[in-house]
Amino acid sequence: MKSNRKASLTAAILMLQAAVQSPVLAGTKRSVADQWSMQVGKVEPGRVNIEPAFRVAIYENLLDELAKTKQFKQVLRSGDRNATGRPDLLILKTTVEEYAPGSETRRAVTTVSGATKLKVRTQLCTREGQIVLERVLSGNVRFFGGNLRATHNLARKVANAIKQSTVPEITPSVREQ
């Protein structure tokens, strides 16, 4: 009786593992995203008075984190001439909505104050302007690390959100262009 239960449990685990590894279930989402290239646009300050160093750090960290996901054929920079005329291009637009500069010293002395907070709206658009994904995400540094670490945390969240989203398949008309 006991050995029967063990055997059925092992069989169930093996079946589950096979299902996860199967290209039908695991590969569908990734193969769709793989068809696209991504262009990261400059970070727009919106109405927020954000330091230029933060804008640049968000932009550079986004490029790094998106490349790490290996979800896209290419991750291109804003203004890159290789992006012109590409039909398989998704454009990432980022606008800052909230920014609290914080202070590393205040964090060290008080623990509860001095946090650096960032909130951005990210839009993933096609070349035609159709929004594929829109999220409002935040990145903070509350305890350890420099202020710019908030930009790294934020970029990682944006990359994860894009990774977990379902990107539409490239239509044949786009493919023909």
């Binding site: 330091e51 230029p52 640049v56 203004g79 890159d80 202070s103 590393e104 010293t105 008080t110 710019l148």
Partner: protein, 177 residues
């Protein structure tokens, strides 16, 4: 055990002495001007590359110098990278207040009893200049690089870049007065 050897009054005195010693030491570290930090020659500055300069790892320390029509970053370990002065779109100055002492200091701070770590935190910080460079690569792709310099050196580099006709916008919200 220690209570058996020393009376409590003496223990508190010892702790006070220890704390003031640590504070004094951290204040010395914060104000210490390493000879390596000062510029070696007219246009060579010792900087820390925070992020974004292509071909250079984050947090690398090295020399930033204007050589002919290029801005060159030479890492301490040997490798280097450079960009054309003409490709620079903007140079923005900022200011950062950072903790000194790294992980060792963080450990000492957290191990100090009676909230002494917070007192150490008050003294163990140093002001730096940050220099944000916005430039274009040969494909027209937008890049942003952030460098950390000793206080006062940022303006020197910016003036030098202005002198060699790098494109520097008049004033930014993040710029120092």
């Amino acid at each position: 055990m220690i209570h058996k050897i020393l009376p409590p009054k003496q223990i508190s005195r010892m702790l006070l002495c220890l704390m003031s010693l640590v504070c004094y030491h951290t204040a010395l570290i914060a104000q210490n001007h390493d000879p390596a930090d000062s510029p070696a020659s007219g246009s060579t500055l010792r900087v820390t590359h925070i992020l974004g300069f292509e071909g250079i790892s984050n947090n690398a320390t090295g020399d930033l110098a204007i050589q002919g029509d290029a801005l060159r970053f030479q890492k301490s370990e040997g490798s280097s990278a450079q960009i054309a002065i003409g490709s620079i779109q903007d140079v923005i100055l900022g200011e950062e207040n950072k903790q000194v002492g790294g992980l060792k200091m963080t450990l000492v701070r957290s191990a100090t009893p009676y909230g002494g770590g917070r007192v150490i935190g008050l003294f163990s910080h140093k002001k730096y200049d940050t220099l944000t460079l916005e430039y274009l690569d040969p494909n027209g792709g937008f890049h942003g690089a952030i460098f950390q310099l000793n206080k006062g050196r940022g303006q020197v580099l910016r003036s030098e870049l202005e002198a060699v006709r790098a494109h520097v916008a008049a004033k930014h919200s993040g710029d120092q007065e």
